[in-house]
Structure formats: structure tokens, C-alpha cells
């Protein structure tokens, strides 16, 4: 992910770093030499321009009263009307709170879970056991969201497995988990951990593997226990990885998995489950209120991007680690 650092110095390279031949000559020479390479790059460039920068151009409908007949360019401008409508609507506060809470909870509970699992796996000495646990815990990552949420509906139903077990063991009255707004966040975060804890531990295990063994050696000679070694060698060793992922996660703060929520929620749980992404979907795709939904989406994209830049700047100041 830190690849991004490299692309940063980009423009300096092409500009005119004081060589004798002119920029035009360099372009021609480069093109003559790398014709085939540019030909091979062209489908990718065309793809990103059309399917990623095209929609960025289309974002302008947030400031328009878009009608399909008139097209993007033909639709009349309305200024900030769609944004004003959104900010003053009843839903604005609710979906913003829901979005931020779900993100924060997953930052607090799901994000550290992967780190903890990596640290625990690192303490296992029997390599067959470690490998088996890894294989099994990575697996849920590959199961589709439809199946995961489908299993949740089945297990968590009033007469489902979970209620049956809770009832017979602890005598708890059946709860309709998926139809209770109060349970939504717990279920969303919990199932997320179930599905991804193993997968997210890979990256930390990889980081642990790059720590120089001689540092552990030195710590042992100084009489550090396993716990002290974890605290003073392993954790500092993987800190840059943790920070990079934390920055990326903060950039995704508003981009909670709306695909999963769309599968999980229903009107009864909207009060805790409805987020920016699902609201955009209902307004735009179901109600075909394109301009309004585009404004909601644009708000989301801009805030996310700003958060990412702030997180990166803060991390740059406080530690050496940065995304760019």
C-alpha cells in the first residue's frame, strides 16, 4: 500500500529536470522507444478514464436538476439546492451518526482483533497448529456476503439456532435479533469480525516476520519475558504497518460496507442501520432521485478524502509513517 509514496514524486520526473534536450524531444524519443508499452497501457488508461474519471465528471449532477432525457450537460444548474435539502432533511443527522458509529466501532473492535490474533498466532510454537488455525480462520473471508447474511437470518431468527441454544442453556426468552434496532450494530460488527479477523491478521503476521530476530535475542539476554518481548519488540516492529492501515481505515470512515447493510437491514432497523451508502442507494436507484443522491454521495466522497489527508498529515507529523 505504501506504493503510493513512489507515485508522489511523479511530476518532478517529467517536468524538465535540467537536461539539455527539450521536453518535446524527450516525449518523442520516449514514445518511439516505448510505443508498444504505451499500446499495452492504453486499455487500462482508457478503462480508468472512462469508468473512474467519467463518474467524477458526472458528479456535477449534484449541482443540477438532472433528467435522463436532458443528459448531464443539458440539465439545468441548481447550485447548492440538493446539498441544502440533504443537510436540512430529517435523515441527515441520523445517517451521519449511524455511519460514524459503525465505523468507530469497527475501528475500536474489529481493527485490533486482527492485531491480537496475529500476536497470539506468533506465540504458537507448533507450526502445524499455527498453519491449521490460519487456514481455517482465513476461510470465512471468501464466503459471499449474501451467504453470511443469509446464515445470520437463519441462525438468529426467533426459532433459530442461537435462540434455541440460549433458551435451553440459560433460559433466555427468544429475541428476534435481526428485527431489533438495538442489536444491529453488535451483529454488524460481530459478523464482520467473524468473517475478517483471520484475513486481517495476515498483514500483521507478515510484518512480524520481517522483524530482525537478533532484536529478540538481545531482549532475551537482557532477561525480557515473552510478554515484555511482545510489548517492546513485536509491537514497535509492526507499528508502521498498524499506522498505515489506521490511516486507510480513517479514510474509509464514511464508506461503511453498505452492501452488507443493504442485505441485513429492514425498515424496522433503519434507525440504527441506515447509513450514507444505503440512503444514496434508496434515493438514487430506487426513487430515481439522481441529483439528490449524487449530492449525498459527493458529500461522502469529499469528507472521506479530507479525512484521509488529515490522518496522513497527522501521522506524518507525529511519526515517520505516511501514506504519501
Amino acid at each position: 500500500m505504501a506504493v503510493i509514496e513512489k507515485s508522489n514524486g511523479s511530476s518532478a520526473g517529467i517536468g524538465g529536470s535540467g537536461s539539455r534536450i527539450s521536453f518535446g524531444q524527450r516525449v518523442r524519443k520516449d514514445f518511439a522507444k516505448n510505443k508498444l508499452i504505451y499500446l499495452m497501457l492504453s486499455p487500462a488508461v482508457a478503462y480508468f478514464l472512462l469508468f473512474h474519471y467519467g463518474p467524477m465528471y458526472g458528479m456535477q449532477i449534484a449541482f443540477k436538476d438532472f433528467a435522463i432525457k436532458l443528459g448531464i450537460n443539458g440539465s439545468p444548474w441548481t447550485g447548492f439546492d440538493n446539498f441544502v435539502d440533504f443537510f436540512s432533511s430529517f435523515y441527515f443527522g441520523r445517517i451521519l451518526v449511524n455511519t460514524i458509529l459503525l465505523s468507530l466501532y469497527s475501528l475500536i473492535f474489529a481493527f485490533p482483533a486482527g492485531i491480537v490474533l496475529a500476536l497470539l498466532l506468533n506465540e504458537v510454537r507448533k507450526s502445524w497448529f499455527k498453519r491449521t488455525v490460519q487456514t481455517i480462520t482465513y476461510m470465512p473471508h471468501f464466503i459471499s456476503l449474501v451467504v453470511v447474511v443469509g446464515i445470520m437470518f437463519d441462525f438468529l431468527a426467533r426459532d433459530g439456532l442461537v435462540n434455541n441454544v440460549l433458551n435451553s442453556l440459560l433460559g433466555i426468552e427468544p429475541i428476534a435479533f435481526m428485527r431489533e434496532a438495538d442489536w444491529f450494530r453488535t451483529l454488524y460488527i460481530g459478523s464482520g469480525i467473524w468473517q475478517n479477523v483471520g484475513w486481517s491478521s495476515i498483514i500483521f503476521l507478515a510484518a512480524i516476520a520481517t522483524i530482525d530476530p537478533s532484536i529478540y535475542e538481545a531482549a532475551r539476554i537482557d532477561g525480557a519475558s515473552r510478554w515484555k518481548q511482545t510489548l517492546h519488540v513485536t509491537l514497535p516492529g509492526i507499528a508502521p504497518t498498524i499506522i498505515i492501515l489506521l490511516i486507510l481505515n480513517i479514510g474509509q470512515l464514511l464508506a461503511v460496507g453498505s452492501e452488507k447493510i443493504l442485505l441485513m437491514y429492514n425498515p424496522i432497523t433503519y434507525s440504527t442501520a441506515d447509513v450514507i451508502g444505503t440512503y444514496t442507494y434508496r434515493k438514487g436507484i430506487l426513487e430515481t432521485n439522481y441529483s439528490y443522491a449524487a449530492a449525498v454521495g459527493m458529500f461522502n466522497a469529499i469528507i472521506s478524502f479530507t479525512l484521509l489527508i488529515i490522518a496522513n498529515a497527522v501521522s506524518r507529523k507525529t511519526s515517520e509513517t505516511k501514506l504519501w
Binding site: A2, M56, G58, Q134, V146, V147, R226, L262, Y290
Partner: protein, 291 residues
């Protein structure tokens, strides 16, 4: 190394905890498997965990396989996975090759252009309108083309391609090989581990994808398996599958059909996964740490 008592206690606790975690990761699917093989009548009377199937019957699977809409959806998904992944690998390899070469003047601006899309995007509605504008709505292409390249996967591939020794490339060039030839006959075959990872990442994402099908497709004949699965599991509609069963029997067998459908839809991935597993840890490391 002598372990202290505390460390021994921790070791036991750790193994127990990880064992429990593995069980928790595995058991839901085991339950679904056992339930799908159970006799529907006996299953509804069972409350609680299953340690083996209750009774034994393939009835639910028979229903699933005889169901025409699942059959069509399965074939559709196979098409999306195969054609989609082939397109992904083809385009990503060529782009990754170009971006991994040393003296390419516009390499960094192109790289920046691609990376930027990972952090800022036009969003759902403008993308939807674009697909509509291009006339792709309700076509198979709407599922394959808009996801032709993933920026993240492209970067992983580029990093792997950079690791191929320059000498091999140069000797191929002396033999008169073009860049196109070097990409497919030198770099690509030498990067098989990362290609395996890409096959897994792209393939699984096509297999599991449902959202783009839901918004771009109307014609049921084009629906992928996940969309039909959503109807059965979440919108909770198995009635179309049981037209020839008397209504009294519908309830119990509806349950086992659900379980059988889950198994049928998940099994291919779970079967392919162990074979690719040794590669993907490497792939994630290339993409995340080394990159």
C-alpha cells in the same frame, strides 16, 4: 529456553483460545452442511446444535439441482467468473508490465492517475448513469466491464513484475523479443504465484458479487447465482422451488433447501481455496508490506 509458569499457563490458554476460534469459524458451515443433508421432518423437531445430520437424504439437493432458475444462475455465474477473470488478468498483466518497466516517461503520471481512484471516486449514482448512458444496462457486459481492472490488484501485480530480474528481460530483447512477447513469455510465467493470487482475488470477487447485478440487471435470465441466493435466503422466497409439493410439507423442506443452496453456492470456492492458499499469503505480503 526455560518457560516460566506464567508463560506455560499462557501457552495452554492461547492454544485453547485459538482452537475455539477455529471452531467458531468453521462450525456455522458444518451446521449448514449437516442440516442440508438432514431429513426435513426430523430437522424441525431438533433444537440446538447438530453434531451429525438428522436422518440422511439428498432430497434438498435434488430440488436445488432440478430448479431451473438455479441452473441458469449457476451457468451465468460461471460465465461472469470465467470471462470476467480472463479480462481482469489480461488487462491487469499488460498494464502491470508497462508500469513495472524502468524507462517509461509517463509511467509515474499514469500510476498517480490510477492510485488516485483508490481514494476518491465518483460514487454509485454517477457510475450508474454512466452505465446507462453507455447502453450497458441489462446486458452481461454491465457485470464484466465496469470491474475490468482493480487498482489495488494492479499495484500488487506491478510490484511482483518489478521483481523479475532485468537480465532475463534484456537477453530476451537481444533475441529480438518485443515488449508484448517479453510480457507474456518471460515476465508472466515467472510471476505465477502472484497470478494465482490474482486468479483467486478476481475470481472470488466475481463469484460473490451481487450488488452490481441487482442494480444493472432486470432480466432474470441474466441473474448470477448470488442474486437468486439473496431471494431465497434473505427475501425468503423458496416457494418457486416447491410447486409440486403439497403445502403441508413445504415448510420443513423449505429450510433444508436453503441450506443445500448455501452449500452448492459456497462449495466451489471452499474447494479451490486450499490449493491457492499457499500463494495468497505471499500475494498479500507483496501488495501490502513490500509495496
Amino acid at each position: 529456553m526455560r518457560a516460566t509458569t506464567g508463560e506455560k499457563v499462557f501457552g495452554v490458554f492461547n492454544i485453547t483460545f485459538l482452537f475455539g476460534l477455529s471452531l467458531a469459524a468453521l462450525y456455522p458451515l458444518i451446521f449448514v452442511l449437516f442440516a442440508s443433508l438432514s431429513d426435513p421432518g426430523q430437522l424441525v423437531q431438533t433444537r440446538g446444535l447438530l453434531l451429525f445430520p438428522k436422518g440422511f437424504t439428498f432430497d434438498a439437493y435434488r430440488m436445488v439441482f432440478m430448479n431451473p432458475s438455479i441452473g441458469t444462475a449457476y451457468l451465468n455465474t460461471l460465465f461472469y467468473v470465467i470471462a470476467g477473470t480472463a479480462l481482469n488478468i489480461f488487462l491487469s498483466s499488460m498494464a502491470a508490465y508497462g508500469l513495472s518497466r524502468r524507462d517509461v516517461l509517463w509511467k509515474n503520471p499514469i500510476m498517480f492517475m490510477i492510485t488516485f481512484t483508490m481514494f476518491f471516486e465518483g460514487g454509485l449514482i454517477p457510475t450508474f448513469l454512466l452505465i446507462n448512458e453507455l447502453g450497458l444496462l441489462d446486458t452481461r457486459m454491465a457485470i464484466i466491464i465496469p470491474t475490468a481492472i482493480s487498482a489495488f490488484n494492479l499495484i500488487i501485480m506491478r510490484t511482483a513484475f518489478q521483481a523479475v530480474p532485468v537480465e532475463l528481460e534484456e537477453s530476451a530483447r537481444l533475441d529480438g523479443a518485443s515488449d508484448f512477447r517479453i510480457c507474456w513469455s518471460v515476465v508472466f510465467p515467472l510471476s505465477m504465484p502472484v497470478i494465482a493470487v490474482m486468479l483467486l482475488f478476481y475470481g472470488v470477487s466475481h463469484w460473490n458479487s451481487w450488488f452490481s447485478a441487482m442494480i444493472y440487471l432486470q432480466d432474470r435470465a441474466l441473474f448470477p447465482l448470488q442474486l437468486i441466493l439473496r431471494e431465497i435466503l434473505i427475501v425468503n422466497d423458496t416457494s418457486s422451488m416447491m410447486t409440486d409439493i403439497s403445502s403441508g410439507d413445504q415448510m420443513p423442506i423449505g429450510e433444508t433447501i436453503k441450506y443445500a443452496t448455501i452449500i452448492v453456492a459456497t462449495l466451489p470456492i471452499l474447494c479451490a481455496y486450499p490449493f491457492l492458499q499457499k500463494y495468497f499469503v505471499k500475494g498479500v505480503m507483496i501488495g501490502a508490506v513490500k509495496g
